[in-house]
Symmetry: C2
Subunit: 228 residues, 2 copies
Amino acid sequence: MGADASRRSLAVVLLSGGMDSCVTAAIARRDHDLALLHVGYGQRTEDRERRAFQAIAAHWGVERTLLARLDHLRAIGGSALTDPARDAIDARRPDSAIPDTYVPFRNTHLLAIAVSWAEVLGARRIFIGAVQEDSSGYPDCREEYYEAFNRLLRVGTRPETDLAVETPLIHMSKADIVREGVRLQAPLHLTWSCYTEEEVACGLCESCRLRLKGFALAGVTDPLRYRA
Amino acid sequence: MGADASRRSLAVVLLSGGMDSCVTAAIARRDHDLALLHVGYGQRTEDRERRAFQAIAAHWGVERTLLARLDHLRAIGGSALTDPARDAIDARRPDSAIPDTYVPFRNTHLLAIAVSWAEVLGARRIFIGAVQEDSSGYPDCREEYYEAFNRLLRVGTRPETDLAVETPLIHMSKADIVREGVRLQAPLHLTWSCYTEEEVACGLCESCRLRLKGFALAGVTDPLRYRA
């Protein structure tokens, strides 16, 4: 598509405030105008993630933003990310391939909000920073899941709705994501990934470890401060 | 399955408080213990529907209940059911096969909550009272949508999760639903269907009209009072 903003179609981007979603938004904005969606669901670092979202939206001057809340995910429980009694730092249990930070079916909740908003806005694409490789093994981060979701989207919306979910990071490694973010001048210094801390990242939780490994393999210095 | 309650598996039933979901719950409880889920999303008659939900749960002595809220559906707008500026009484617009009361992708939001709760509870089935025939033409009330959703469910949850959505009313007419409700002694007198009123049903909105037609064709007197 051309650079003429008036001819660019609109994309809804799910922006948690983490590195992956920030790079995803940087990819989406090459071809689309952005509408940025942030969803709080009672996770421990919710306030910090929302601040990261707002900083990234301001950095790019995006005015179409929606902050949604899914309070029932905390009421339902079942994840270390939303249950204060469970330990998110050492998340991977030896007896399961799925880490304890898994929020049951979480991405379906997030995508449903994105689809409803996209239908109302007339957006043509939804972008989500799901990563299949080098990720945490969540069932709803695999390409197969997004194929099934796009099928649901086709049959579950108005016949005239022309909308699809894109997952540009799905087969990238964390190092690839860091390199792509640097290349596209994504504001990685404004992102937040840590599952447990809100000021200085812990450096120990699964999310910090994956992020730090990505920066190290990409040969790039992570602009965030870490405690460990 | 046998009548021994301890050997019955658990089913999550989406119970709006309307007639269809009440009859669906009556069908589900023949073979399952129930967990009843109600979702408010800023619809006009939200308080009345919640009271109907609570009355039906109490009628059957169901203690596992979850009240969830989707406030962002009101923020997103796009439907006469959630937008006070739009007219829900005369819902069907001449220029579209989809009525104005359509909430974009609504059932995906409801089912996502049901799936997350079902995974945590260990439930084996989710029941939803979707009706394809004799309904309002919503895209997410068709059998094709539920086939796609069940595929998403298989690929989007833990490998050990054994869960599926059932739609026992999908090919029933409203008259069939009334007859089935009477046969199963569903508490139809506790249900609420009207889109606009909370004390005496209007009798004019699309939901009232479909309900009244169903009772008339079934030769059964509707226990609710109507203004028109």
